[in-house]
Amino acid sequence: MRPLSHRLIAVLLLCATGFARADGMLMMRIPMRAEIVFAYAKSSIEEHGYSVAHIQLCDGGMTDFGYKTDFYRVLFFGKLAEVRRISEKYPELVSYVPLKLAVIAEKDDTLLTVLNPEVLAPYFADAEVQIQLSRWHSDLESILDDVRRSIGKRIAHAD
């Protein structure tokens, strides 16, 4: 197979749009080290108006227990008004907030993974929940898209 050049990958990252929508999981692969992708993901989440509530160091936890693991962290994030309204009106959704984004190293690549909130849509009749779930969905897509574009630019500049 012909290998793709680094620059070409940068162009691809900059030009591609959208991703695995039909899936329960929204996923994106970024050809960049996880530490760097993590930083971009965190700032994109904040730029979308969310507060990063917590960072779960899955890798740290496993290492403490003597297991070998690559970079594996989960960002927890939410907006106060949304979290509050959900816990008041829809306690059935509370287990799924704050939202989460996993940053998983796969050798030199990084996988970004989020649960597609729309999987929860069939369980609720309320328009309010439907709107909330689809807003989250589009924010999550936009966050992943942002990370991809930013990394694409970074690779292009590095040439």
């Binding site: 691809l12 496993m62 693991t69 106060l80 979290v83 287990s95 998983i104 796969e106 292009a156």
Partner: protein
């Protein structure tokens, strides 16, 4: 253009790319990056998904690729891409062809006639050690080993999966067995190891897996995303009881976090809603090898909330719902085990 050196450079690259790829359909490439590369990688090296190298694509038809994209692999991670248009699926297939410089091998769709009973014997002798008795594959996990240790370099696909059997023609299965997939560890059986008749028989046997499939479970009328239990105790006692029960079940408990913690300041955070988080690293480590994405639903959490009327409720995610996110049958045991643990803990707390 002078003001935008980056943009100019990108345009130049895009043009160069278009020229190099001649008749390439750029949308196929974009679509592949968008929908497939997370699992199969940009150049088809494989990851959570199987490798898609030229040697493999030369021995599968366009029809197989189309159907694989549409059907996915139910219970084997790859989703069914039902919302892509026919033109988009065509574009992805065209891209795969151009990328690997391969052509549809033009297999016929004729049924291979063989003796499935004899095929079972052949299968048990030659295939079972990699593909398992039920065809789902020996060893745990899918795709290619990346950052995790596993038993095979390339995990054998499930050949009893409805997505596979619904896509592959008999002739294709025959060819895979005959030529093997040497680059990923499946030997060729056509070099005198098995006669053509034996291969026909084993194809008939692999086909017979089709009859053993059960339909995926639909959402039941009473299925809810979360189990909500009312606690007979007050807020503090409920939390203390949950922790005692978790410790008894050998979980490591993390520091509590208020539901609103981190999204607001410490003065306005609602302290009557708390998540009790816990994990079993031993189980987790084993499961991550099977499903690298599992960390997204961890740690486990029981949320305790005091409602305005003073009642205390405990919210636990319904793992049947959580499992729908993963499309991974290998996790069924984990969900069952966790569901049982949750039930025991709730029983202990509400006693």
């Amino acid at each position: 253009m002078q003001k935008f050196p980056l943009l100019r450079r990108l345009c130049a690259l895009l043009l160069a790319f278009a020229a190099a790829q001649a008749a390439a359909a750029p949308d196929g490439l974009e679509l592949y990056i968008a929908h497939c590369s997370a699992c199969h990688r940009v150049e088809g090296q494989g990851g959570i998904g199987l490798p898609l190298p030229a040697e493999k694509l030369a021995e599968v038809t366009d029809d197989y690729l189309h159907k694989t994209i549409r059907l996915g692999r139910p219970g084997r991670v790859m989703p069914a891409f039902e919302r892509l248009s026919d033109a988009q699926v065509d574009a992805i297939v065209r891209f795969l062809r151009e990328r690997t410089e391969t052509k549809d091998p033009g297999f016929d769709n004729d049924q291979v006639v063989g003796d499935a009973a004899h095929g079972e014997l052949v299968y048990n002798e030659h295939c079972i050690k990699c593909h398992a008795a039920d065809g789902t594959g020996e060893g745990e996990g899918t795709g290619v080993t990346q950052s995790r240790e596993r038993s095979f370099l390339v995990m054998p696909a499930s050949i009893s999966n409805s997505g596979f059997l619904g896509s592959a023609s008999d002739r294709m299965i025959h060819t895979v067995v005959e030529h093997g997939r040497r680059w990923s560890g499946m030997p060729a059986f056509g070099d005198g190891k098995l006669s053509d008749g034996d291969i026909n028989d084993v194809v008939a046997y692999v086909r017979s897996f089709e009859q053993r499939q059960s339909a995926p479970e639909a959402i039941g009328p009473d299925e809810r995303p979360t189990h909500i239990y009312e606690s007979p105790h007050d807020f503090e006692t409920t939390i203390a009881n949950i922790k005692t029960a978790l410790t008894g079940a050998n979980f490591r408990i993390f520091p509590d976090r208020f539901v609103e913690q981190g999204v607001t300041d410490e003065f306005s955070v609602n302290q009557r809603q708390v998540g009790i988080r816990f994990c079993n690293f031993n189980v987790l480590y084993g499961m991550l090898k099977i499903e690298p994405r599992l960390g997204i639903v961890l740690p486990c959490r029981i949320t305790v909330m005091e409602r305005p009327d003073g009642t205390v409720i405990m919210a636990i995610p319904n793992l049947r719902v959580v499992s729908r996110w993963f499309n991974n049958d290998e996790l069924v045991g984990l969900w069952d085990q966790m569901e049982e643990t949750f039930t025991e803990i709730i029983d202990e707390v509400t006693l």
